[in-house]
Each structure stands twice: as C-alpha cells, then as structure tokens.
C-alpha cells in the first residue's frame, strides 16, 4: 500500500494531471481578458447590445447543457426557468423603485437564480425520476403551461405586454448607476465569468461527475450507491439556478420581459444553440451561443431568409457532426498531437473553399427564387452580394447556377483526397 502513496513525477498519469491544471487555468484568463477588452475593439452601441445578448445566451446555454450534455436530460421547456428568474428580478426592480429600497443592482441576478432554482426544485421533484421521453414530455408540458399562464395571470406576468422596469433606481454601486450600456456590459460580463467558472467547477464535483455517470448508465450508477433520481434532481436545480441568473441579466439588460421569454420558441432556440455548439464539451455551448447570436444578428440584417439557413445548418450539424462545432474542433486534437495537422491545410483549402463558394451559389439561387416569388409586382431589381441586377432575366440565374454547380462539383471531386489526408493525419507513425 505504501508504495502507491508515494508521488512519482515520472509517472505519466501524474504528469498529465500537473499539465491539466495549467491547461484549465489558461482559457479562463484568456476569456476574462477578452471580456474586458472587447468593448474597446467593438465600440459602437449596437455592438455592445449584441455582445450583451451573446453573453446572456452563453450563460443560458451553459446552464442548459448542464442538463443536456452532462446529465443526458432533454428539456423542451427550459426557457421557463430563465423567464421566471427574469420576471422575478423585474418585480424586484420595480419594488426597489417603488419603495426606494437600498439595493445594489449587481446583486439582482443572484435573486433571479434563487427563484429559478426554487421553481426547478418544485418541477424537478417529480420530473427527474426518469431521463428519457418522460422527462422531455413533462418539461414540454410544464413549459406550455407556464407560457399559457403568462397571458392569464396578469398580476405576475403582465399579460400580453409583459412587465417592464427601470434598472437605474438601485443603490449606486461604487458610483455606477448603470445608465450607460457599457456599465451594463461589465455587469453582465462579471456574472458570465462567475457563472461559467461555477458551472465548470460544478462539473468537477462528485455530484457533477455522477451526473455524467447517470447519463451514461443510470442503472450502474444505482449499484455504486447513488440514486439516479437524486443526481438528476441536483443537476436540474443547479441548471435552474444558472438559468435564473441568465434571466436576471436579461431583465437588467432589456428592462422588459414578456411571454416571449417563456414560450416554446425560446426553449427551442436554446436547444438549437447548445446543440450547434456541441453538447459533449464544456465550452461547446459558449461557441454555439456566440455563433448563433452572430448568425441571428448579422445574417438577419442581410436576408429575410436567415432562419432557413440556420435551420439547414442545424439539420446538417445533427446529421453529420453530432458533436457540434466543439466536436468538430476537438476532432483535430489527435492530428495536432501527432504533429500532422499541417498536412490538412492544403486539402482543406482545396475542398472547403470551393464548397463554401458552391453553397453561396445555392444561397443566391434561393434568394433569387424568393425575390422572384414574393417581391412586389414590378419590382424586378434585387441586390445580392453587393451587386444589383434584375431577377427576371436569365443571366443572374445562369451565373448563380454555374457557381453553385462548379463549386460543389470541385468540392466533391477533391473530397476523397481530403478524406485520405484526414486518415493520414490521424495515423500515428509512417511518413509525415
């Protein structure tokens, strides 16, 4: 026994552990610096708004993934926990305003979190006894119920118009009154950092580890002394807590909450975001939230049809890369470890760039079809990719068609070579 207790730095296992400590601290520092610096790079007000939305979505998506990715529980009504936390914070904010309560605004999300957790405890007490269809259906049912209640129970949800408030009545926090967007940005960033670190640490606690075990094999977990139900319950409450925090941040940032924050669409969006980013890795939802918010805000400015593209992207992700964007990135780790990732660059350029051009061609065809069908009578002129042309003439169709066909054709022709390069890059040894 004694020899096992000695630490031997030459043992590979312990070297890995020492390495992993520095590895885990690095990204957090980078993220914190990025959060601090971002407003100096993107200074416009709209950029700040987009970033605020992005960080709130990140908190929400990470909280959602505590269930989906780490606990294996698919929830269809998770907007409820964020929404309720938000509504509660909104009421608190109005209470502060009405009664002149001395309350620092930055603490508000904490109360949203507690409220979200409280509600999760009620629902979780009966929904977490199973993980599969039963859990999903209860979450759907509860979600629909609360969303419907929001129109009926006007006192709490404010009916159709929702409830709104004013964040600036809180106690000034070191002189900051949160009048300016940038102040709100740092408040949100602070909570994002705090929540993300806490959620990461949660996944490293005994109950967080057992959540993984219960996800993989609930029965085996039972025979290790853990009740699968309680493990799920704790994950569920923790997720509810962080969703509530996201709700509180939403309340601070937008100063209004409506039925939209509770309904099935919002619940669906967060599922989409999380899955797009990748449920298998802790940082997946972060990437998903950033990518989705960018797609939503930037793409929706460019085209009415953005939802089609996002839907298509989502389906393609489920079908071809179930690991999501994070999975796609992590796929390259073995090649990097083997030092052969360089061999992938050229094949990628040869296949993916023509492929992307081809996809753009297809998009052009879709846009033109849409314009052709739905534009006002006599409006033949449309602008696409910085060119204005007549959508009722043959030429643009021909060009878009050729671009699409050639791009996709080249991609298809070079795909086998890419596959070969991929296999080569992931095989140890051999000529490199």
């Amino acid at each position: 026994m004694n020899d096992q207790l000695k630490t031997d730095p030459s043992k590979p296992a312990q070297r890995m552990r020492a390495g992993s400590m520095t590895l885990t601290l690095g990204p957090w520092i980078v993220a914190a610096i990025a959060l601090l610096v971002m407003p100096y790079i993107f200074t416009s007000n709209s950029a700040l708004t987009i970033m605020n939305q992005m960080w709130i979505t990140v908190v929400f998506a990470l909280a959602y993934n505590m269930l989906l990715g780490q606990g294996g529980m698919l929830s269809f009504g998770h907007a409820v926990y964020m929404g309720l936390g938000g509504f509660f914070c909104m009421h608190l904010m109005n209470y502060i305003e009405d009664f002149g309560l001395a309350f620092p605004l930055p603490l508000l999300p904490l109360f949203g979190g507690l409220f979200g957790m409280g509600f999760a405890m009620i629902i979780g007490s009966f929904s977490t006894s199973g993980a599969g269809t039963r859990f999903a259906m209860i979450s759907l049912g509860v979600g629909e119920l609360i969303a419907a209640c929001s129109v009926i129970i006007v006192a709490f949800f404010g009916g159709e118009e929702g409830i709104s408030g004013d964040r600036t009545y809180g106690l000034p926090f070191f002189g900051v009154e949160f009048l300016k967007q940038i102040e709100v940005y740092y408040l949100i960033s602070f909570w994002l950092m705090l929540s993300a670190v806490l959620m990461y640490l949660f996944s490293r606690t005994p109950v967080g580890r057992m959540a993984n075990a219960v996800r993989d094999n609930p029965e085996r977990a039972q025979f290790l002394g853990y009740s699968a139900r309680w493990v799920r319950f704790y994950s569920f409450c923790a997720s509810g807590f962080f969703c509530g925090i996201a709700g509180g941040l939403f309340a601070i940032s937008y100063e209004i909450l409506t039925e939209e924050n509770l309904n099935a669409t919002s619940s669906g969006v967060i599922l989409l975001v999380t899955f797009l980013g990748g449920v298998g890795f802790f940082f997946g939802p972060i990437i998903g939230a950033i990518a989705f918010t960018l797609l939503q805000t930037v793409l929706s400015l460019q085209t009415e049809l953005w939802a089609i593209y996002v839907g298509g992207l989502f389906l393609a992700t489920v079908m071809f890369f179930p690991g999501g964007l994070a999975g796609l990135m992590m796929m390259h780790v073995p090649a990097l470890r083997l030092g052969k990732a360089g061999g992938l660059v050229m094949p990628y350029i040869k296949t993916l760039i023509p492929g992307a051009i081809g996809v753009l061609g297809v998009c052009a065809l879709i846009e033109m079809t849409f314009h052709f069908r739905h534009a006002a009578k006599g409006d033949h002129e449309m602008t696409l990719f910085w060119t204005t042309f007549d959508s009722h003439t043959v030429m643009p169709w021909l060009i878009a068609g050729i671009v699409a066909a050639v791009g996709l054709g080249v991609a298809r022709a070079t795909a086998p070579a890419m596959k070969e390069a991929w296999d080569e890059a992931n095989t140890a040894g051999g000529a490199s």
């Binding site: 026994m1 096992q4 207790l5 296992a13 890995m16 552990r17 640490l201 949660f202 490293r204 606690t205 005994p206 109950v207 967080g208 580890r209 057992m210 993984n212 075990a213 996800r215 993989d216 094999n217 029965e219 085996r220 977990a221 039972q222 025979f223 290790l224 002394g225 853990y226 009740s227 699968a228 309680w230 493990v231 704790y234 923790a238």
Partner: protein
C-alpha cells in the same frame, strides 16, 4: 453461530404465471467464495436481481449481515456493503477508465451528493482509483474512454468498479462469459486477488473457474437449489448429475 453475510429464506419470484424462483433458502458465510451453477434458464440471473433489488421478490426475505433488505432501493443496498457486476458488460462507456473507477469510489469515500468538493483535489480519490487500476492492470488505459477497451478489459474494468466501493459482499454475474481461455485465466486470477477476505457470490458457467475459485457451490435447477456443498461433494451428488445430464438431453431434442 455468527450471522451469515447473506441469508436467503423462502425467496420466490413469479412473472405472471411463470414461477422462476421457487423458494430458495441459502446462507453464505463471511469471507466465503460461493458459486451458483445450473443449466440455462434455471433462474441464476433472476436470483441475482432479486438479491440486489433490481426486481422485488414475490415472497421471502434477503438478509445482509442479518439485516432485512426488503423495500430498499439498489443504491441503498449498495451503501450497506453489497456490490454486483452484470452479465452484460455494464460500465460508463463515454467516460474514461479512470473516471469509471473514481465514480465507484465516491460514495464509499463519503462524498455523497456534495457540490462543494472538487474531485480532482482529492488525493485519496485519485490514489484510490489508481490503486484499483493497478490491481486490474488497466493503469496504462487510464485516460481512454471505457467504451474503446477490449472485451476482456471491459470485464476487468467492471470487476474493478464492483470492488472499488469497498463492499464486503461481491456478486459477480458470469464474469468470464464469452472469453477465450487465456482471458478466462486472467480474470480468474484477478477475481482471486481482489476478493481476498471478502464474501464472493458468483454465477458462472465455466466449471474450471467454479472449481478453482469456490469454497462452496449451489446448484440451481428450475428455480430451486438441489444441492449445496463443497465442490467435491456437489460433483459427486447424483441429483446434480441427473439435472445436468437431463438438461443436456432435453437440449438435444
């Protein structure tokens, strides 16, 4: 007489009209290695599932160290010091080998459902898990996903998970099923090593393993124990001979 490690009295189980376990009385002493054998369909796995509360019994009691287990959930029974493996490999395939073992250690080291401890910080957990991995010779596979191990390695891992919690009654359901000769020998040695000083109850088909490991053997046929005793005695028992030959003859028809 000291209390038996595991005592079954009048244990019965029916599924609908079919009576699978038809009244079993069995007492297994502390630190005894007990094997349960019998022809296919005799109810061996059902018996295991009854003891570990995977199914509720129709009648009878199961006592662990003299304590009645009626109405307890599997996880509660596990906490009382009874651990089992499964006939079909039952591990956490997406988690690493190390994580598999570490999860098995959590409860016994008193972590319960805590969310204020970090598992990486605990030297006792890490070293405990590594000690188990060393015992089952999987230290080199430490960071691989458990699902990628070979079949024999997965079985070894399952035994590791089963013993990791420090339970003093270990139940193994066909630990060598589907293995080659060399793999069987390897697993047999492993079982011998890791169950030292513990009560072992195993279902097994491979008679070599049974006679090599067991202190006592029970023969289960059609839901009843027809013989219990030392390996030599059981081998010589005419009822056992008949049951096995009979079943063999029936299978031919």
């Amino acid at each position: 007489m000291s209390t038996a490690a595991l005592e079954l009295t009048g244990l019965k189980k029916s599924f609908g009209k079919a009576e699978i376990i038809r009244g079993i009385d069995l007492s297994i002493g502390k630190a005894e290695r007990h094997a349960i054998i019998g022809p296919n369909g005799a109810g061996k796995s059902t018996l295991f599932n009854l003891i570990t509360a995977r199914f509720p019994p129709s009648a009878g009691t199961v006592k662990l160290h003299g304590e009645d287990l009626a109405g307890l959930e599997p996880y509660q029974i596990n906490r009382k010091g009874l651990s089992r493996s499964f006939q079909i490999t039952n591990i956490f395939p997406k988690m690493t080998v190390f994580e598999n073992v570490r999860c098995a250690l959590l409860w016994s080291q008193g972590y319960k459902y805590s969310f204020w401890n970090l598992v990486n910080r605990s030297r006792a957990l890490t070293e405990g898990a590594e000690a188990i991995l060393e015992q089952i010779n999987l230290l080199e596979r430490r960071d691989l996903p458990a699902g990628t191990l070979s079949y024999a390695e997965q079985r070894a891992l399952e035994i590791g998970i089963t013993i990791a919690g420090g339970a003093d009654v270990i139940m193994l359901d066909e630990p060598t099923a589907g293995m080659s000769h060399s793999e069987t020998d390897y697993i047999t040695d492993l079982i011998m090593k890791v169950t030292e000083g513990k009560t072992l109850i195993m279902v097994e088909h491979d008679m070599g393993v049974v006679f090599g490991l067991a202190d006592r053997i029970s023969v289960l046929v059609y839901g009843e124990i027809i013989a219990t005793g030392k390996p030599e005695d059981v081998r010589a028992d005419p009822k056992v001979q008949e049951a096995y030959l009979g079943a063999a003859l029936e299978a031919e028809h």
